[in-house]
């Protein structure tokens, strides 16, 4: 026995008013190369805010339009106001709207078409948004 516990799998929160999307994403997650990834699902932004406030979420896939809300410009800031500092990705069947270019101003990290999401893309997202971008000499205790 090594005495080391296994690392906790990354936990993705899917926020989408269409429950079918949860089944589709679950299936796609099974095709991801590498360690297991956990998925939780909520159908609206109110429950998403409650869930992130409880902690433990590593990444959020946020559907662009959640009825009765408007688009991500209304919903993503609510997650930030709840203190969530992990990555938020906007997913939508159509990301061609000009307003998608403003995603960073609303606290969003990336956007992606639903048809672009596959095991391969999810692996990249996990690795990209969990990697250390700063060297050890830039750790916060060097302040």
């Amino acid at each position: 026995m090594t005495g080391q516990s296994a690392p906790t799998p990354p936990l993705i929160l899917l926020v989408d008013d269409d429950p079918t999307e949860q089944l589709i994403l679950k299936r796609k997650l099974q095709s991801v190369d590498g360690p297991k990834i956990d998925l939780e699902y909520v159908p609206d932004i109110g429950q998403a805010v409650e869930r992130v406030s409880a902690g433990g979420i590593d990444l959020i896939f946020l559907d662009n339009r959640l009825i009765p809300n408007n688009d991500f410009r209304e919903t993503a800031p609510l997650l930030r106001q709840a203190g969530f500092v992990g990555p938020i990705g906007i997913i939508s069947s159509d990301i061609s709207g000009a307003y998608f270019r403003e995603f960073r101003e609303f606290g969003v990290d990336f956007r992606m078409g639903k048809d672009e999401i596959d095991g391969n893309a999810i692996s990249f997202i996990i690795s990209e948004y969990t990697r250390d971008q700063l060297s050890e000499t830039c750790a916060e205790d060097f302040l």
């Binding site: 190369d33 590498g34 800031p77 930030r80 106001q81 203190g83 500092v85 992990g86 990555p87 938020i88 990705g89 061609s96 998608f100 270019r101 995603f103 960073r104 609303f106 606290g107 990290d109 990336f110 992606m112 672009e116 391969n120 893309a121 692996s123 990249f124 997202i125 690795s127 990209e128 948004y129 990697r131 971008q133 700063l134 060297s135 000499t137 830039c138 916060e140 060097f142 302040l143």
Partner: protein
């Protein structure tokens, strides 16, 4: 017949690309357009004995099983070694070359495209294709499309390394750092993710040519960016 103008990676998303994730999507679409399941854009430096797939500005969708224990490739990997001796793209047939990458990737053929920036940084774009080796016409098309997407990657991402001034957002982040705030705290204050704040800090360090947060704040104070 291939129709490059109709391709996703040269369509509206080409102009809309803003961050590394967007370029991952563009290169993945380019690869997919030529029946390549995997792609790797790797920075190839001067004297290293291996190439790092996770460091710097590299982008790829290779599974970990195709990388070595340190997350990269040996300098002897033929698909990458090609760009060290040639400035022209080349295609390989799996039966003609002994490439661990090609073999373990289960591909029938591969394409290796040398790319370089105007600031003399060299990269290689590798495609692992599930099809017969692309002929010269297709190779020309792949090279051309790769050069277009790579130039856009340079314009949006790579060129930031050589810009010296700080943006308003970067100055905000230096200010909050000088107040002793951590990345997570700055993320909450500015309504961003911690990842985004760290991306800004990494860019500021490169621009100011410093290595840690204390030097970053000192440099910004000295140059009058903050007071």
């Amino acid at each position: 017949m291939l129709e490059p103008d109709a391709a996703f990676h040269l369509g509206p998303e080409f102009d809309n690309a803003l961050n590394r994730m967007d370029f991952f999507r563009l290169f993945k679409a380019l690869a997919s357009n030529f029946d390549a399941r995997y792609f790797a854009l790797i920075e190839v430096g001067g004297d290293e004995t291996r190439f790092d797939a996770h460091g710097g500005h590299s982008l790829h969708n290779l599974p970990d099983a195709l990388l070595d224990a340190k997350g990269g490739f040996s300098r002897d990997e033929p698909l990458l070694a090609h760009v060290l001796v040639s400035s022209a793209a080349r295609s390989f047939d799996a039966t003609d070359v002994k490439s661990p990458l090609l073999e373990q990737g289960g591909a029938q053929s591969a394409v290796s495209v040398p790319l370089h920036t105007v600031t003399a940084k060299r990269f290689a774009l590798i495609l692992l294709c599930n099809r017969e080796r692309p002929d010269h016409k297709e190779l020309a098309l792949i090279s051309h499309e790769a050069a277009l997407v790579f130039q856009r990657y340079f314009d949006v991402i790579l060129s930031l390394d050589s810009i010296t001034g700080l943006s308003d957002r970067e100055i905000q982040i230096v200010r909050w750092t000088s107040e002793g705030k951590t990345s997570a705290e700055i993320a909450i204050i500015l309504g961003l993710s911690e990842h985004t704040v760290n991306s800004y800090i990494a860019a500021i360090l490169r621009k100011l040519q410093v290595v840690n947060r204390a030097q970053m704040v000192a440099s910004a104070l000295r140059s009058g960016m903050i007071n």
